[in-house]
């Protein structure tokens, strides 16, 4: 079996993606020494190479746009290449945070009130008026984030009106649409979902306690700056609700093979859906590898099982 792990790309999360790719490739090699596992960046020579020597399966570990918005997956589908993970159309819905939130809300999940606005709206209606309306509609504290993208890039927690303009400028640097979301105080958890022959299964929730209180880029990728509890310190009923929320998100959005939902558990034990990732980070400090370890599942064996699923689909 020849497996191609795609990582890198041109997104702001290139570095994270490269590290995820390296780690998954290494785990696959260890789990299946008989397989040929190749790591590769995405560039203008990729398609010619795929045409000349098609792998049996592709594992897209591209984070950020093109990787998670479905674009590269669309191309893989056109080429008839099996790949691990959600199909292009589902990825597109999941990657767009406001769209994903709307869909999971319809399915009954709680998700914080949010408004997604392009820069043009602020320009046309006047930023002060729009920001005043947002303050009224959502209230402080709120979270400003790019509508698409991961790794907390461009994300700020805004506690008062004076902080809002700079936060908006920071989010718009990563994309044309910014989402403003009510800040929910509570325990931050991430729940991975993997599909098995018996259906999708939720992994143990990973509880995230960043030293500064904000799980930002530095807290995500500097070992030692965040404390994790796996499984999360939740009552059984709440842990079950979190697992169900992740499974609901996975199924509602039509995701495939694996995903990771990020949730906040409030004081009442309600899981609030924030976003879902179709190519979860797999670096040394990422969340899904910790969840797999806590569940006693070997990462390489799990990824190999997903590869076999993908190949069997064709």
């Amino acid at each position: 079996m020849q497996v191609l792990v795609l990582a890198g790309g041109l997104s702001a999360e290139r570095d994270v993606s490269l590290r995820s790719g390296r780690r998954v490739a290494e785990a696959l090699r260890t789990a299946r020494p008989d397989w040929q596992v190749i790591e590769r960046d995405v560039d203008a020579t990729l398609l010619a190479e795929l045409a000349a020597d098609a792998p049996d399966c592709v594992v897209p570990l591209l984070h950020g746009s093109a990787g998670e918005d479905g674009a590269v997956r669309d191309v893989l589908e056109c080429l008839g290449l099996p790949y691990v993970g959600s199909r292009a159309a589902a990825s597109r819905l999941a990657f767009d945070k406001p769209v994903a939130k709307t869909l999971v809300r319809r399915a009954g999940l709680a998700t914080p009130e949010a408004v997604a606005l392009p820069h043009a709206t602020f320009r046309e209606l006047g930023a002060p008026g729009v920001m005043a309306a947002l303050e009224r509609g959502i209230g402080f504290p709120l979270v400003v984030k790019p509508a698409r993208g991961g790794s907390a890039l461009g994300v700020s927690i805004v506690r008062e009106a004076a902080e809002l303009p700079a936060a908006m400028v920071g989010a718009f640097a990563y994309g044309d649409v910014a989402m403003l979301e009510r800040f929910v105080d509570g325990t931050e958890v991430a729940v991975g979902v993997v599909e098995t022959p018996d259906g999708p299964v939720a992994l143990p929730a990973v509880e995230i306690a960043a030293d500064g209180g904000f799980y930002d880029y530095a807290a995500r990728y500097t070992a030692g700056t965040t404390e994790f509890h796996v499984p999360a310190r939740l009552d059984d009923a709440v842990a079950k609700a979190a697992a169900e929320a992740a499974l609901t998100a996975h199924e509602t959005l039509g995701l495939r093979d694996w995903s990771r939902s990020d949730l906040i558990i409030d004081a009442e034990g309600t899981p609030w859906f924030l976003e879902v990732n179709v190519a979860p980070g797999m670096t040394e400090t990422s969340l899904v590898p910790q969840a797999l370890a806590a569940a006693g599942i070997d990462m390489g064996a799990q990824m190999a099982a997903l590869v076999e699923r993908a190949v069997a689909r064709v």
Binding site: E13, R14, F172, A173, Y174, Y217, Y221, G224, T225, E227
Partner: protein
């Protein structure tokens, strides 16, 4: 909290100075800058492709073949004596006379920076640096827990009056100033050069106040106009530790630099070097030595000068043509960099993701300060991309700045342009 995992069992064992060593968004964005689609005006990589690579390959092969037992062995902690002699010839270009014994060869001048700081600075000692200053030096001073204080610059570099004031102010606070760190020629990142009078006054202040000057001169031979500027060290061999480098005149990958220091200092530097690395790489030193002995190195430096001058011109011409109003930049007479100041209210660090999306990279100005200054500035390097790529990079950057200005204007963060909305346009005149 306890009972959880921090994914790093040594988290409580690190020294205090490791606290700032964290992942950053900026570094993540630079990972994209290495892709060929991106015009990187960020890194200061010398254009080593212009070297006579075949000759260097032959030199390296011959060294191993004929002098392998020496080349591949440990060497002197102070560096190869032949090379130290040759370094005197190189330094003669900037007016320095010295003895081979005054020279210590280091693993790039970066290591010399480290050694000098190690020998002179206790935690809390003040180092005066230019505003902005070389990011690699700031990293060293920070690692030795120095109190880093910036001193103002103008178009002629470090301002003597500001230096005087800084010394007075710092001493009034009961602190001890150990060094003045300066890059007098073709400054990184500011792109400016101290004139002879400016150098004389800085030296005079240092002498009067009894403070060591750490003169960092990696770009001295890469001037585009006339003879290389005369080093401060050329006029005083006791007040100055001079740092030189072959990274820009030969090859950065060889990692060969040097320091010239007064006798007592030099003795300590050698001992410090021995404890840090035992000795600099013999292989790299002898490669440089052979190159200097057998190749027309002065001609090669001329090739580099011409190449970088052409690229500097491409940068300045396209900045002139394309930059939005309110943007200013320095006009370097040598070296690798121009320092760009954005229109009021723009933040170069916040703008970087937009630039990366537009496939152009630069270094945000805050990295060249320890105190948060520089948010409105950025450094552009013209050393690596060719003239066409530079023009394309500036074209992309100007679009990025225009977009960022629009956002800043919308949100009122661009102060000057806050009320820039014009009157309503009249209806087209159909009559």
């Amino acid at each position: 909290m306890s009972g959880g995992s921090r994914l790093d069992p040594w988290v409580d064992a690190y020294a205090a100075r490791a606290r700032g060593m964290t992942a950053s968004e900026i570094r993540a964005l630079f990972a994209v800058a290495s892709r060929p689609e991106v015009v990187s005006l960020a890194g200061g990589m010398p254009f080593v492709q212009a070297l006579p690579l075949d000759a260097l390959a032959e030199t390296a092969a011959r060294l191993v073949r004929e002098r392998g037992a020496e080349v591949l062995q440990y060497g002197s902690g102070q560096g190869d004596v032949t090379l130290r002699g040759q370094i005197l010839d190189v330094m003669a270009e900037v007016g320095i006379t010295a003895h081979p014994d005054d020279v210590i060869v280091t693993t790039g001048s970066q290591m010399a920076l480290d050694l000098v700081t190690r020998v002179f600075c206790d935690p809390g000692d003040v180092v005066l640096v230019e505003a902005p200053s070389y990011v690699g030096a700031l990293g060293v001073f920070r690692a030795y827990e120095c109190d880093i204080q910036h001193v103002a610059m103008d178009d002629e570099g470090l301002v003597p009056e500001a230096l005087d004031e800084a010394i007075t102010r710092v001493r009034a606070e009961g602190k001890r100033v150990k060094m003045i760190y300066t890059i007098p020629s073709f400054h990184n990142p500011a792109g400016v050069t101290q004139g002879p009078e400016r150098r004389r006054r800085i030296l005079e202040i240092a002498k009067r106040e009894g403070i060591l000057i750490l003169e960092d001169d990696p770009y001295g031979l890469l001037g585009f106009e006339g003879a290389p500027p005369r080093a401060i060290r050329a006029d005083d061999d006791q007040q100055v530790v001079y740092l030189g480098s072959f990274s820009k005149t030969i090859a950065s990958g060889l990692r060969v630099g040097w320091a010239v220091a007064p006798h007592g200092v030099r003795e300590k530097l050698v001992l410090a070097a021995e404890s840090a690395v035992l000795c600099p790489s013999n292989y790299a030193q002898l490669t440089v030595s052979e190159y200097l002995a057998t190749q027309p190195w002065r001609e090669q430096v001329k090739v580099f000068r011409e190449l970088y001058r052409e690229r500097r011109d491409a940068l300045l011409d396209s900045l002139e043509q394309l930059m939005p109003a309110g943007t200013t930049w320095t006009k370097p007479a040598g070296g690798f960099y121009s320092w760009v100041t954005l229109p009021e209210g723009l933040d170069a660090k916040a703008m970087l993701p937009r630039a990366i999306s537009a496939l152009v990279a630069y270094v945000p100005g805050t990295g060249f300060f320890v105190d948060g200054q520089g948010s409105q500035s950025l450094r552009l390097s013209y050393c690596y991309p060719d003239a066409d790529r530079i023009r394309e990079g500036v074209r992309r950057l100007s679009g990025v700045i225009e977009s960022e200005l629009e956002i800043a204007q919308t949100f009122g963060t661009g102060h000057v342009l806050r009320n820039a909305q014009g009157p309503a346009n009249p209806a087209p005149d159909l009559l």
